[in-house]
Amino acid sequence: MTVKECYEAIGADYDDVMGRLRKDERVQKFVLKLLDDKSYELLENSVASKDMSEAFRAAHTLKGVCQNLSLTPLFQSASELAERLRNAQDYSEDMEPLLEQVKKDYTHMIDCIRQLA
């Protein structure tokens, strides 16, 4: 599988990332790094322990990383979640669908990246 194919499978914008990062190898290198990135784990754990400010930061980091790598679906769902979590004091029911979406996008994305590895 090529990086381009991987991006297509994720639904991410390969042309955009190439426009900014310039080299296919570089994109590959950093996309693969996502397999070791702990932001998503941190997000899940923070939500579980109801630490909303930590959850916000994790979502925010996830969003930033995806933005830099033009991983559009997760960038979008993480952005929405981050906005909902910004300044949130407590967990609330309406966060659930947003969290679900992030989980779905993240899982799908990681599955695709694993095939690249």
Partner: protein, 682 residues
């Protein structure tokens, strides 16, 4: 390490971002041309900046981070003035205008939005670094130019006024005195809030004061230096120097608007006016006379009085002040008279102090003042000096083989010297040091906090503290001395900002000292206390115990000389040891046993109801046999109750009783009880 940047040396960029991927991404884009240092959050970044501030050319900073976020980091950088030396580019996905505004307010140079692309990042980094070093170079140039200009100005004025004074037969000190006096009076006026003067005014007026007599250059020498009294005609000529000086300054082509020229003009023209309107040349009255000229006039009169002249001796400070206040030397502004009256004592001191100060120093002061008021920034020269100091410090720190440390309050950090960190097998930098290994495992519980408290409670005037702690150095308990100096902010009131210090191992020294103390207190042969120590201990007991139910026994061995003579000194020593052992075995820890010297011993012990049974028991214990030598003793006893708390009196009583026994044929004991009574011998 040097600020003289080697062309082949890569500039350093500090990347601060909590996401490892983001840091790596930026690093990847920049690492070809730059050396990259990474930090996970603001606190880590602060630690790096603290260490390597001078070496970092640029910082890329994320906003949202745990522990210390981007804004907090910028605040720390502002507080420590790092923001002036290190350009910061913010990188963030935040596009809220309030965020961006706040970042610029806190001094960031540029702002890059996520997602960033390689070109933008590289271009902005290059531009920012270039722009910033250009700026620095310029301020450096400006600083040096100001410095040179200041020096030239002063020098020219000095030369000029020296020429005038030389012609005038004066010492050349006159101009310096006038400057000191003028500055002194003006400072008082500022303190009182009179005449709305500023520090800059002082500086200008003081410089211009040197010009007050330049008009004398056009006075014929025979008039100028006439030893006797002036004729009316000569006096008129002499008076011309005021207007002449003003004219000279006014005629300097194209310079009539220079503040120094304008100020000099006022001073030259009007420094002989009188407050009552009877001076010259314009007969100005009261505050029609510019305050600068009034002050210089007062300084001029004072210095004339206190200096030796062809026609007069020098008056003392006190006499001169008195004459001026009495109106014997003209009429002055009552405010200035007040000033002279109030500050007379200080003035005398100030004049004594200012002797010998040189102009270079003042020029430096002036530049320093400008730096403080933010007009110029610290020049590269200063950086080089700092760098030089740092190299020097590092060298000596290594040489000294001591654990040295530096503690800062914001951000809270502790930095160990390279040698110290290696020695303790610890990192050099601790964030939140109170909970880290250095504070918790090297120091015993609470000791590090105790040290910090001591430092915080010290003052800028008395900042050095010394404390002893039992430290754990690599698993060994070592008594150590911590010598530290607290550091304070320069603003008022001073704020505790941290400390520097070192740890000195005093364990061996202390043990040796303890050992010496033990040695000094004891008799080396028997291990009993010596008399001096026993006396000190007994005196302590006598002073704190009011009941004083103690008995003092002094005794010596009968015919001990014979033991020495017959069996030799070594045998004599054995006898003494034997006697000492009897006493050690039969006394309690709170009894005081002492060998006073030779075969004389002393015992001091508490008793319950009666002294005699106790004394009797000891006496019989001592009467024994060591090898061939039969031991008997003569013993004098005194009751502590009767000495009134005075050891010497007590000892004297026991000694007297002992003497009685000896005269009575030895081998007995005797109590001192006003009159001497003997015990029965069995």
């Amino acid at each position: 390490m040097s600020r003289n940047k080697n062309v082949f040396e890569k500039k350093k960029i500090l990347i601060v971002d909590d996401s490892e991927i983001n840091r790596a991404l930026l690093s990847d884009m920049l690492s070809n041309e730059y050396e990259i240092i990474e930090a996970e959050n603001g606190l880590e970044a602060s630690a790096i900046l603290h260490e390597q501030e001078q070496e970092i050319s640029l910082m890329l900073l994320d906003i949202m981070m745990p522990v210390m976020d981007g804004f907090e980091t910028l605040e720390v950088m502002n507080k420590n003035d790092w923001i002036k030396d290190i350009p910061v580019i913010m990188i963030s996905a935040e596009t809220v205008p309030a965020y961006i505004d706040r970042a610029y307010e806190l001094g960031v140079q540029d702002y890059i939005n996520r997602p960033f692309d390689e070109q933008t990042v590289r271009r902005r980094v290059v531009n920012t670094i270039l722009l910033f070093s250009k700026q620095k170079e310029l301020t450096h140039m400006v600083t040096n130019q100001i410095m040179e200009k200041e020096n030239d100005n002063k020098l020219m004025i000095e030369i000029l006024s020296n020429i005038v004074e030389f012609r005038n037969g004066e010492s050349g000190l006159h101009v310096l005195h006038i400057r000191t006096l003028t500055e002194f009076f003006l400072k008082w006026l500022i303190e009182q809030g009179e005449y709305g003067l500023s520090q800059e005014d002082i500086y200008l007026i003081c410089n211009a004061s040197a010009l007050h007599d330049i008009g004398k250059i056009s006075i014929p020498t025979e008039v100028l230096n006439k030893p006797g009294r002036f004729t009316d005609e000569e006096y008129e000529i002499m008076k011309g120097h005021a207007l002449e000086g003003a004219r000279l300054l006014q005629d300097i082509p194209l310079r009539e608007n220079e503040p120094l020229i304008q100020m000099g003009y006022q001073i030259c023209r009007w420094h002989h006016e009188r407050y009552d309107g009877r001076g010259y040349p314009d007969r100005l009255k009261g505050d029609e006379i510019p305050i600068a000229a009034q002050v210089v006039a007062l300084a001029d009169v004072y210095d004339a009085l206190t200096s030796k002249r062809v026609y007069k001796a020098a008056y003392s400070h006190e006499k001169a002040v008195e004459m001026i206040l009495n109106g014997e030397c003209g009429v002055f502004n009552p405010v200035l008279m007040n000033c002279l009256r109030e500050t007379s004592a200080d003035l005398k001191e100030e004049l004594a102090r200012s002797e010998g100060q040189n102009f270079q120093e003042e020029a430096l002061d002036a530049v320093e003042q400008m730096i403080e008021s933010g007009e110029v920034e610290v020049s590269d020269r200063t950086f080089k000096l700092l760098e030089h100091e740092r190299v020097k410090y590092k060298f000596f720190a290594e040489l000294s083989q001591e654990i040295q440390f530096e503690y800062t309050v914001t951000p809270e950090m502790l930095i160990l010297s390279e040698w110290g960190a290696k020695y303790l097998n610890m990192p050099e930098t601790f964030l939140n040091p109170k909970t880290e290994a250095f504070a918790t495992s090297v120091f015993a519980e609470g000791d590090f906090l105790h040290l910090l408290e001591k430092l915080e409670n010290s003052t800028p005037d008395d900042p050095v503290i010394e404390e002893k702690y039992l430290l754990n150095i690599n698993g060994h308990e070592r008594w150590s001395k911590v010598i530290a100096r607290s550091m304070w902010s320069s603003w008022e009131p001073p704020e505790f900002s941290g400390a520097i210090g070192k740890i000195v191992d005093i364990h061996d020294e202390l043990e040796k000292m303890n050992h010496l103390q033990v040695m000094a207190a004891h008799d080396s042969l028997t291990g009993l206390l010596n008399h001096k120590t026993a006396k000190t201990q007994i005196e302590a007991i006598l002073s704190r115990d009011t009941e004083k139910k103690y008995v003092l026994i002094v005794f010596d061995l009968d015919h001990f000389k014979q033991a020495n003579d017959t069996y030799g000194h070594l045998f004599g020593d054995e006898v003494l040891k034997y006697v000492a052992d009897i006493m050690k075995r039969n006394t309690r820890s709170f009894d005081i046993i002492c060998r006073m010297g030779g075969d004389e011993f002393l015992l001091f012990m508490p008793y319950k109801d009666e002294m005699e049974p106790l004394v009797k028991r000891i006496f019989h214990l001592l009467c024994s046999q060591y090898k061939e030598f039969p031991i008997s003793v003569s013993m004098g006893v005194a009751d502590a109750k009767e000495c009134g708390g005075d050891y010497d009196a007590l000892f004297h009583m026991a000694d007297k009783a002992l003497y009685k026994v000896k005269r009575g044929g030895r081998n007995n004991y005797c109590f001192y009880k006003n009159e001497l009574t003997g015990g029965d011998v069995q």
